[in-house]
Subunit: 351 residues, 4 copies
Amino acid sequence: MIKASVIGATGYAGVELIRLLASHPKVELKNISSKSFEGEPINKIYGNLNKYSEKILTDENSALEDSDVVFASLPAGLSEEIAKKCFEKKILFIDLGADFRLSNEEDYKKWYKKDFKYHDIHKEAIYSIPEIIKYDNFYNKKDLKNAKIIGNPGCYPTSIGLALTPALVNKIIEKEDIIIDSKSGATGAGRELTLNTHFAECNEAFAPYKIAEHRHTPEIEQTLSNIYGEEIKITFVPHLLPINRGILSTIYAKLKNKNSLENIFNLYKDFYKNSKFVRILNIGNIANLKNVKYSNYCDISIHIDERTNKLIIVSAIDNMVKGAAGQAIQNMNIALGFEEDAGLNMIPPAF
Amino acid sequence: MIKASVIGATGYAGVELIRLLASHPKVELKNISSKSFEGEPINKIYGNLNKYSEKILTDENSALEDSDVVFASLPAGLSEEIAKKCFEKKILFIDLGADFRLSNEEDYKKWYKKDFKYHDIHKEAIYSIPEIIKYDNFYNKKDLKNAKIIGNPGCYPTSIGLALTPALVNKIIEKEDIIIDSKSGATGAGRELTLNTHFAECNEAFAPYKIAEHRHTPEIEQTLSNIYGEEIKITFVPHLLPINRGILSTIYAKLKNKNSLENIFNLYKDFYKNSKFVRILNIGNIANLKNVKYSNYCDISIHIDERTNKLIIVSAIDNMVKGAAGQAIQNMNIALGFEEDAGLNMIPPAF
Amino acid sequence: MIKASVIGATGYAGVELIRLLASHPKVELKNISSKSFEGEPINKIYGNLNKYSEKILTDENSALEDSDVVFASLPAGLSEEIAKKCFEKKILFIDLGADFRLSNEEDYKKWYKKDFKYHDIHKEAIYSIPEIIKYDNFYNKKDLKNAKIIGNPGCYPTSIGLALTPALVNKIIEKEDIIIDSKSGATGAGRELTLNTHFAECNEAFAPYKIAEHRHTPEIEQTLSNIYGEEIKITFVPHLLPINRGILSTIYAKLKNKNSLENIFNLYKDFYKNSKFVRILNIGNIANLKNVKYSNYCDISIHIDERTNKLIIVSAIDNMVKGAAGQAIQNMNIALGFEEDAGLNMIPPAF
Amino acid sequence: MIKASVIGATGYAGVELIRLLASHPKVELKNISSKSFEGEPINKIYGNLNKYSEKILTDENSALEDSDVVFASLPAGLSEEIAKKCFEKKILFIDLGADFRLSNEEDYKKWYKKDFKYHDIHKEAIYSIPEIIKYDNFYNKKDLKNAKIIGNPGCYPTSIGLALTPALVNKIIEKEDIIIDSKSGATGAGRELTLNTHFAECNEAFAPYKIAEHRHTPEIEQTLSNIYGEEIKITFVPHLLPINRGILSTIYAKLKNKNSLENIFNLYKDFYKNSKFVRILNIGNIANLKNVKYSNYCDISIHIDERTNKLIIVSAIDNMVKGAAGQAIQNMNIALGFEEDAGLNMIPPAF
């Protein structure tokens, strides 16, 4: 059993990590830390927890003690220092925040208004959507199996990268005019209280937010550009759904030539034939959030608008699992040589 | 007081008509009919109703008796005959179904799998989104003030036509590559029981449906083409939202030239300066379904993706009011010479 | 047209008052005030508003200027002073807060931890659920038609008082062992951000709160005791529903004797025969929140558990209308000699 | 690995069984059958499933082949025959329907309008809420470890039996005037399409149903009477919550004597000290559906209304897990000598 610790354990991604690690066959949860709730038992904050109910939240430094792997889920700028400490102590560090997602420091500065503090540490990091890492491992093309620091992708970039990669690798779509209309459940906004996520304001409501200015934009473009081999600029509009979980992205791209739905379906099916978590739906079916909730699956359905020769791709993930904690564990599994789906092979509930 | 009757009174648009007509200062509800519930009092079907609780549902023909205006909300192909009878009896007929929405019979055949039965009757009809009718009155450019038969637009076409008209009239966007990503509440699917609208399958779920093949597509394209003066083909993908009411459309179009947000905002503001129901939101605000629920408003917000030179328009309506019963009453008001907002000037609730 | 002003206009009851007053045929909205948003236009806070979009929020004192009636919706202890000023200026004052609900100062001290500051002012006040005021006007049995200060009841007490009054007046139930299990939508908790009303914590969740210790308990008991003529103690448990609006109370009482459902139904029907807002449902129907939303109705259904000889009463109101702003307007209508339902005769939507 | 089959596999309890059995360490899913979808692969009906996506739905008889245990989830009256066949073939049979829940055939006749067909088979059956079976095993007090036929309890009776047992065993409450106000999520109504569970009619709505006449009433009373040793009659009112999962019961009982909350808490804590699934919440906490979703836990909180000397017990379960499929697997685990929580030790998600 390896020992895993979680920093930022009382945020939504943190508590989801705790839940998923609890049923991992090769992991023992070691330490959990929280700035806001240091000294309190975790079940005072989360009534759903039981197995770990008496575990006390520690400070950040104590969380590293006696750990083989450390997960952190913190606001931008707060993970670098922990990454450095872990690296020095030879602890595998997996960051669910934004600090190790952008290879280009200028992009990080522009979108997150912060600098890289430890440039050496960034050179050790690997950014990984495991299914497409071979097209998108910008950090020195290191091998995930020997990773020391892993930048776990954002939820939107995961849902979009998986959806577009086969089309970009096979160059069947134009790189211009890609439109991405994404919709996310309210847990994507985290546990912080805001008017937008106040029940009576969010329920029975629906709207986009951060139109064409969401921080995940450069991360998405970085992935798509790496995959395609040329710079790609996208139009990205996220929306807030009045549900708890899930991201559904509806993606519009221009087909380079006339192409049959069957051809493209086969190409996608083939691309992901060894993937345990990406499910390409049969022609005629449409990806739906309800089929991936509480699981690490990404469901993708492929459609063509014959009248305008557009490829329409719909992808659905659980933002807290494949979009955060689940993918972090998937990355850990590969890095540590476990089965890729260890602790992640749960079937999504029907409702 | 004029006398209004409703055919198809127990469908969702029908009962919404009853509710709205009840507070119209110049209308008395006369007859209500329903094939499924003929002979029953309406409040046996709808517990919310009171004022009309003892009104008995009749058959279709009886509904015409002693009426000045008849509204029908029926499946495609069933309104033509009633329109003919009303026309002969000089009763104003307003169709909330699809029979008088498409000028081109071939389109109707292709998308609805039916023929026009009474071609003469179609020549008497007017299709009307009142705010833009002068650009889109394909039925012989008749005057709405003397209308005999009115084709009330679909919910999606209303939300989209209002959003795109100022941009198309002013020719600031390309006619190619318009992408329309719409999201509708569950009342849009009506009262018929389906697995998709079964609570446990719809709640906490989200997905598109009828991707690039929704029947409102030709109606949307007809409006946009009429406005622009050239044929326009769009890509249209509707989604089902797990809420009761509302349609929010996120529309992506390519700007012909660089243009400032302020310019376009002013152009929209000016275009709708006399409109009682279209609200152009101040720059920086985003249209949200919660602000138009239970009202006849259409909220529109304008955005530019500077990085890709796209115009992004967000429009929000209540699908049952501005998208159905409210707009039908607005059309009636104009046709009969009432104030355009008679019975429709309610403020949407905050929640 | 009389001039009405609203203090605490940006709270949920405040904005609902603004919405309802806007369609009142005899009222002009004069001033609106807000401590938190003084100096801002109301539509910056509430995007739903239009008619009053440019109205600027003032301070409390300015709100009284040039007003015939002032509504206040404020935390306990803050209304007394305003009541005093209004009384001196001969402005009708209607308090939607708790300051004029309890006749017994000891109860107020015990449950609200505050004192009455102006005892004289309390003597001028009338507490009024209009349909049952003749049984429950503890403040000197004054006539509502000449009221100067009105204590508008709490939402739970309204739903419960209306449900139990006919049974208590007719003495068909025991005064012991009355159990009241109430369920309220999330707007009942107001606009203040709390973890309980954070979307992801409230949605798909359900639980009671303040079990047997809710502040409305003494107000409910005061009403029931006044009606019955003897002291009544109840067991009251409120629950938080993951919906926006409505209070449904399920009330259990022991029948004194065997009694037929028909008898009791007739007794209720008769009791409310002149009421415009209380609807006694036909035997076999069950009160449902969906039939009263956005209206001033209180739906009541009557049931008997023959096996245990219990009377079960179900009552449903919209907590923001009959439970707050609507009832306040109903009280104003009576006090000023308007039709009781002026501005309140809207039909609830079916969905 | 033992081989388990599911009859009625496409109902909501059936598909939940499939999901849970999939992660059971000692079970292999063998056959699945469905009258409505015979011959189709299960993933055509449920898009969430993957592992078993190609499994074909069979007829009922084929489902028994090569099985060690058979679960059935069928309408009343359809399980007896299967139970008989399983018994003859020495297959453990677990019925999630109502056929083996009532010991008294008269009750079954009265509430389900059917007869027992095979009286011998009923003598072999065991009814089991495992945590309290020693007080409530009416079917000949057989040992669950050698069970051949198990009657799996209803969802409401499970939530209520667990909540009241410690109080009844310790005789601290009166047997009269027990009021049970339960609220269930919409999956409790199953997959059948009804107007009550049509999204727009169920969402933002709330009401009781089958007031004092729900079929679970005799099952609840049977359990409570068995536990107490005297006949108990209750008042039971279920409500439909607009959420997917969960049953929360608020239970009101009269304390025989004055008693301290601490005493009763300790008594409950002690009663369930060896239980893996019942969690008695610390004093001051309140059971909430959100903390038990997707798990086999039953959370119970204890409260006293000092003013009226009532004990108030709140219990929360997931109706599809502890209220159906999970408890069926728990029963199987005990009957087959597995760990009681094998396949059931998942932590509920926080949201």
